[in-house]
């Protein structure tokens, strides 16, 4: 049964992640284009929203169920996915390019001698193969590649592909499989949640601050606006290197590349490394004193003024419309 696309889904705290539904929809769409069949696989204990999968276009799901595998184990997950892909003769394996997807997909690739393409932002079927576009140099350029191996592994950048809720009434056909003696030689033993409420890698809205804030305590202005918008707080490299903010908040070439719906840059001049990491955001707002700052060249809307005067007013205005 070749001609199969396998969507490899990720659950965290027993729930399939939004980015995995993007994988489901994309796999279903690609299967249609190539005349293939698509199915999905998930590893975990109880998976609460497993029935939602069919809404996004795949009805056949295999659930490897084990309480020992509720948390990620690189060794066990690799073996299970690779063996299952062989069993169903999957030709394509689609992952989400999350921390887990980027960790797991190359390991599976070795087991299947498959080419592994990471962080794809566009996928196009062409003559029975696919052309994959992915950003390189943190988005300063794009690379189009074609997998040449028999089995092909592609991970999709989160928040780029749409999870299309088709409103389908089909129910999800779940086959549960047990896992005997999984190889737990590498396993997660604890998850330490970070204090911030939202992570820049997953947020729909990001409010970022830079050197223009002048002092770490002034990030309160950025945090207040982020709270009002339900946004994650980000930071420029300058703010991180100065020790004002933790590295996990850094946006840019040596931080995270982000694609939120809205990116608000406050007191960030827009070094090339920063622009590379955020310029594919859907909408960008820049607030900066210097009207010639490079950040305005990528911003949809800008205010060339004093952040200390503007941010509190903006926060109040947002609170008003949200209440």
């Amino acid at each position: 049964m070749a001609n199969t696309i396998l969507a490899v889904l990720e659950q965290r705290e027993n729930k399939i992640k939004k980015s995995s539904f993007e994988v489901v929809s994309t796999a279903a769409g690609l299967a249609k284009d190539l005349g293939f069949e698509a199915q999905a696989v998930v590893i975990g204990d109880a998976v609460e929203n497993i029935q939602d999968i069919s809404k996004y276009g795949i009805t056949n799901v295999t659930h490897f169920k084990s309480s020992e595998l509720a948390n990620y184990s690189a060794s066990a997950y690799t073996n299970i996915i690779a063996e299952f892909a062989k069993e169903i003769s999957a030709e394509y394996l689609l992952f989400s390019a999350t921390a887990l997807g980027k960790d797991l997909s190359p390991r599976v690739a070795v087991k299947l001698d498959a080419g592994c393409i990471v962080d794809c932002t566009n996928l196009q079927a062409a003559d029975g193969n696919v052309i994959v576009t992915r950003p390189i140099f943190a988005g300063k350029a794009l690379m189009d590649v074609k997998p040449k191996s028999e089995i092909k592994i592609i991970s999709l950048r989160p928040n780029v592909f749409k999870a299309n809720d088709s409103g389908s009434e089909n129910s999800t056909n779940v086959v549960e499989k047990s896992v005997d003696n999984p190889d737990l030689s590498t396993k997660v033993i604890e998850f330490k949640k970070s204090e911030g409420k939202l992570d820049v890698a997953e947020a729909d809205i990001i409010v970022s601050g830079g050197r223009g804030l002048k002092a770490p305590e002034n990030f309160k202005l950025v945090e207040d606006l982020a709270d009002a918008l339900g946004a994650a707080v980000g930071a420029s490299r300058a703010a991180v290197d100065a020790g004002w903010r933790p590295h996990r908040e850094q946006v840019g070439q040596t931080g995270k590349t982000v694609t939120p719906n809205l990116y608000v840059a406050c007191g960030i001049s827009g070094a090339i490394q920063h622009l590379a990491g955020m310029s594919s955001s859907k909408y960008i707002v820049a607030i900066n004193k210097d009207k010639d700052a490079p950040i305005f060249s990528v911003a949809d809307y800008g205010i060339a003024g004093d952040i200390f005067e503007i941010l509190p007013v903006l926060t109040e205005e947002i609170k008003k419309i949200k209440s």
């Binding site: 140099f137 300063k140 590498t186 997660v188 330490k192 809307y301 205010i303």
Partner: protein, 250 residues
């Protein structure tokens, strides 16, 4: 303990990227190359563990690429790495091929502890460490910000969305380093002088057939210049209106 650190030679992050006329490579004219920023954390961690293990512990730097990669190996040597090996290949865009030649050399060298940067800031693949480990049958923990090794037990914290995973594993292991793991040392003048006397062995290697074919490189569509709405908070109402009604993002 024999420790390997794999380093790549990449355009400085301040580089404006231009595509050359072949459309399959970047224009290298006027581009400054540096050690991949994340590899500096990998080198530092390798040196820390060499100092910790003591005895006849040794750190060897491996790099796949052309002659110019020697500059990056030299940088690692100046920081304190003992010797370097350049695996000569011009084919450096398919991570799988790179991982194969690295795995071969790591096996030859007998290294049980291997460090990489979490990704190279050129092709941004972030998978070479995991590929290499899996080819070798080593365990692997990627994007590591804290590492403890006790006997053959390895406990590392890795950065993921919304927090850190504490991962338990054992030697032999490949660790890929994230910013925050340590504070890389500067190469001292003494170190730079000493590095000139250290050996860089060269080996011709073949990355085998690529698993991926390059079609072309291109630049993202330039962003349309936006609108400056004002110079103070009197522009805020208009901004909020545009975000709601035009962009529809709030």
């Amino acid at each position: 303990m024999k420790i390997a650190v794999c380093v790549s030679h990449v355009p400085d992050t301040a580089t404006k990227i231009k595509i050359d006329t072949s459309e399959k490579a970047i224009d290298k004219n006027g581009v400054t190359y540096v050690i991949n920023p994340y590899d500096e954390y990998a080198v530092e961690e390798a040196l820390k563990y060499k100092e910790k293990f003591g005895g006849d512990s040794e750190v060897v730097a491996l790099s796949v690429g052309g002659d110019s990669n020697k500059e990056t190996i030299r940088k690692a040597l100046a920081m304190g790495v003992d010797r370097g090996i350049l695996l000569k290949s011009e084919n450096t865009f398919d991570s799988f091929g790179i991982a194969k030649v690295l795995a071969d050399e790591i096996k030859t060298q007998g290294c049980d502890l291997v460090f990489f940067g979490k990704q190279s800031v050129d092709f941004d693949n972030s998978i070479t460490g995991q590929l290499t480990a899996t080819i070798l049958g080593y365990s692997c923990i990627a994007v590591v910000v804290d590492l403890k090794i006790d006997g053959d037990k390895v406990i590392a914290e890795r950065e993921i969305e919304g927090g850190k995973e504490v991962v338990e594993s054992k030697l032999p292991v490949v660790i890929t380093a994230q910013k925050g793991l340590n504070e890389p040392r500067y190469a001292s003048l003494k170190g730079i002088m000493a590095a000139k006397k250290k050996t860089i062995e060269e080996k011709a290697v073949s990355t085998g057939e690529n698993h991926i074919e390059m079609v072309k490189l291109h630049k993202p569509a330039p962003k349309q210049p936006g609108r400056i709405l004002g110079t103070d908070s009197s522009a805020v109402p208009e901004l909020v209106k545009l975000l709601r009604e035009e962009a529809k993002v709030i």
